[in-house]
């Protein structure tokens, strides 16, 4: 898994709450058996009109946000289905981190498994970042996972919380399964207590 240590990138503001994983990656794209190829389908029904043309009104399509790698969104981001295709699509599109006042559990967990950082910040701080993004063309943030800080170039400096273990795994790019298999003895010991 790709480690995440720090990242500086263009910010794109998705000013909506309860963005669900059906929006992030609609169901017709879940038929793929590969882990790749989802980036071009990210937010498909919002990015494209019914006739297939790009929806100029959608934030990701606006020229000033091309190349954005940090998504800022409203509360409960990633709610709904457990589809890991959602962070796959975001990551392949180029998003390295998502900042929101809250995340749905399964989605946040899936992000960590894919080297993506979900950052939870108070609603007021998220609002502040959204505003700065909208008011300053080319607005960037620098996320430092080691120090758990976020700064911009115009005076913003905030700390964020993240579980120590998830932070460690993300910094080191550790393989979860490999970590668990290190405890083979414990697994065997548990299995010995079972009837089957």
């Amino acid at each position: 898994m790709n480690p995440f240590t720090n990242h500086t990138g263009l910010v794109v503001p998705l000013d909506r709450a309860n963005v669900d994983t059906d929006q992030i990656i609609p169901k017709q794209f879940l038929k793929r058996i590969e882990r790749t190829g989802f980036g071009k389908f990210l937010f498909f029904d919002w990015r494209y009109l019914a006739d297939g043309k790009a929806n100029a009104d959608f934030i990701l399509n606006q020229p000033r946000y091309r190349g954005a790698s940090i998504l800022v969104a409203g509360k409960n981001f990633g709610c709904g289905s457990s589809r890991e295709h959602a962070p796959w699509a975001l990551a392949e599109y180029g998003i390295r981190a998502v900042i929101a006042p809250s995340f749905a559990d399964i989605f946040a967990n899936n992000c960590f498994k894919n080297g993506m950082l979900p950052v939870t910040l108070p609603e007021s701080t998220v609002g502040e970042i959204m505003q700065r993004t909208q008011e300053n063309e080319g607005y960037k943030l620098t996320l430092d996972l080691n120090n758990q800080t976020i700064v911009d170039e115009i005076g913003l400096s905030v700390n964020f919380q993240v579980s120590a273990f998830q932070r460690y795994c993300l910094l080191e790019g550790l393989d979860d399964i490999g970590l668990t298999l290190r405890h083979e003895d414990s697994i065997k010991a548990y299995e010995a207590t079972r009837k089957n």
Binding site: R16, A17, N18, D20, D22, Q23, P26, K27, Q28, L30, K31, R32, I33, E34, R35, D45, A50, G74, K75, N76, C79, G80, S81, S82, R83, E84, H85, S102, A104, D105, I106, N109, N110, K113, N114, S163, A164, F165, D176, I177, L179, T180, L181, H183, S186, I187, A189, Y190, E191, R194, K195, N196
Partner: protein, 466 residues
């Protein structure tokens, strides 16, 4: 201790400070959509499935609900289903494949087969895995990387959730179902009201539910953001379990029963949060918006966004009304529908079909409506046919289909056309969920049946049964 705490403690493989706890998984259910990449990962890392005997698969999301003797027209879907078949064969996993008599929606067949049992930890790459919590199990959805993790290790690292008790008082009135109770709870606490919590449903109304009713209730837990939902096991649970194909038998049954009887929260158990619901005051519910929390009783009307408490809520409501093509303060019972869908892991079991058939009997669907009934499994389908429910539905103009997830998420050809409005017994009304531009209203099976007949939503409590 709470039931959750008891289940948690019983499955600890390893605990360490500042690390998630490693839990053992008793039952791993897989389906065609979230498993292909997991098996690829196993192959790439040269790993085997640790416990193929605790792993069971079915094809449900992508399968057509029409004639299954024909090859699947969608080549990509066909490939995905074939991939599951090949992976299960390669790794020695039992698969209830598309034409097997046990096939059906994964959260319908698990309990039917007696695979789902009290006291278990159960996972599946699907968020509605919470369904199995109805048996007093710790059951939750996982992503594909975690599916791979469980395949390889039969364990899962988990951060402990907080506990929420939903305490019901009174009994559900006639015509008000487990689905309505679930919608009422989500309406009350919101789509993120239980994020970070495991819900235990308690109280008379819950005790009074059948196993299928409890499954509907637990199924919808994820729509409130919960990690899992559960109902403590009791005589209703044990009666359901007895004799099921994979349920313990003989001495093993006696031993299991003894253990299962301990699986309830202690009387002095403390929950992190308690939410109270007076079940006796509930009505049938209907969603009006684009998430399950945007829901109101059938006797009321579409809310006015300007009544919203915050600007964000107001904007969300405005956007939802625009997508759903609804005006503020429209009476729910004045909303006409184009389609009706009775199906999904939420409401496609035999009792759901019986309830809907009771409403439908003697009537015909409205000329402006087309309607589908998709039984949750072949077992449900066969039983329904034995009881003549299929004839009741067909004579009324419903299409009677083969089992699968179908129009809940429209991965197969059962989808809404843009702008079509559907009364659906499924679990999500997100934008485009049932088809791009499709407008979903979540309701109970009785309410979907009644709406199909009237051509608009109606209060099924006043229904004239024939």
């Amino acid at each position: 201790m709470t039931l959750f705490e008891k289940l948690w403690q019983a499955h600890i493989v390893r605990e360490a400070q500042n690390e998630p706890t490693l839990l053992y998984i008793d039952l791993h259910l897989i389906h065609e959509v979230t498993s292909p990449q997991a098996f690829d990962g196993l192959r790439e890392a040269g790993r085997r499935v640790r416990r193929p005997d605790l792993t069971f698969g079915t094809a449900d999301h992508n399968v057509p609900t029409t004639d299954r003797s024909l090859p699947i027209a969608d080549a990509i879907a066909a490939k995905q289903i074939e991939t599951l078949r090949n992976n299960c064969a390669e790794f020695g996993i039992q698969l209830f494949d598309i034409n097997s008599p046990e096939q059906g929606i994964v959260h319908v067949i698990g309990p039917e087969l007696g695979l789902t049992q009290p006291g278990m930890t159960i996972v599946c790459g699907d968020s509605h895995t919470s369904t199995h919590g109805a048996f007093g199990a710790l059951a939750f959805g996982i992503g594909t990387s975690e599916v791979e993790h469980v395949l390889a290790t039969q364990c899962l690292p988990q951060n402990k959730a907080r506990t929420m008790k939903v305490q019901t008082s009174g009994r559900l009135p006639e015509g008000v179902t487990a689905k309505d109770l679930a919608l009422a709870i989500i309406g009350k606490i919101g789509t993120d009201g239980a994020t970070g919590y495991v819900i235990e449903y308690a109280g008379d109304a819950v005790r009074g539910l059948t196993m299928e009713g409890r499954m509907t209730l637990c199924n919808m837990s994820i729509e409130a953001g919960a990690r899992a939902g559960m109902v403590a096991a009791d005589e209703t649970t044990f009666a359901y379990m007895q004799g099921r194909r994979f349920a313990p038998k003989g001495e093993a049954w006696d031993a299991a029963l003894k253990y299962w009887k301990t699986l309830r929260s202690d009387d002095d158990a403390v929950f992190d949060k308690v939410v109270e619901i007076d079940a006796s005051s509930l009505e049938p519910f209907v969603t009006w918006g684009t998430n399950p929390g945007m829901v109101v009783p059938v006797s009321s009307c579409v809310p006015d966004p300007s009544d919203a408490k915050t600007l964000a809520d107001r904007q969300a409501a405005e956007r939802a009304l625009e997508y759903m093509a609804l005006s503020p303060r429209t009476n729910i019972q004045d909303i006409a529908i184009d389609r009706a869908f009775i199906g999904s892991c939420t409401n496609a079991r035999i009792e759901d079909l019986r309830a809907a058939a009771r409403v439908v009997k003697g009537y015909h669907i409205n000329s402006s409506v087309s309607a589908l009934v998709v039984p949750g499994s072949y077992d449900v389908k066969k039983e329904a046919e034995r009881e003549g429910l299929d004839r009741i539905f067909s004579e009324a103009g419903f299409e009677w289909r083969e089992p699968g997830c179908s129009m809940c998420l429209g991965m197969n050809p059962d989808i809404l056309e843009p702008g079509e409005r559907c009364a659906s017994t499924s679990n999500r009304n997100f934008e485009g969920r049932q088809g791009r531009g499709g407008r979903t209203h979540l309701v109970s099976p009785m309410m979907a049946a009644a709406a199909a007949i009237k051509g608009h939503f109606t209060d099924v409590r006043n229904w004239e049964f024939k």
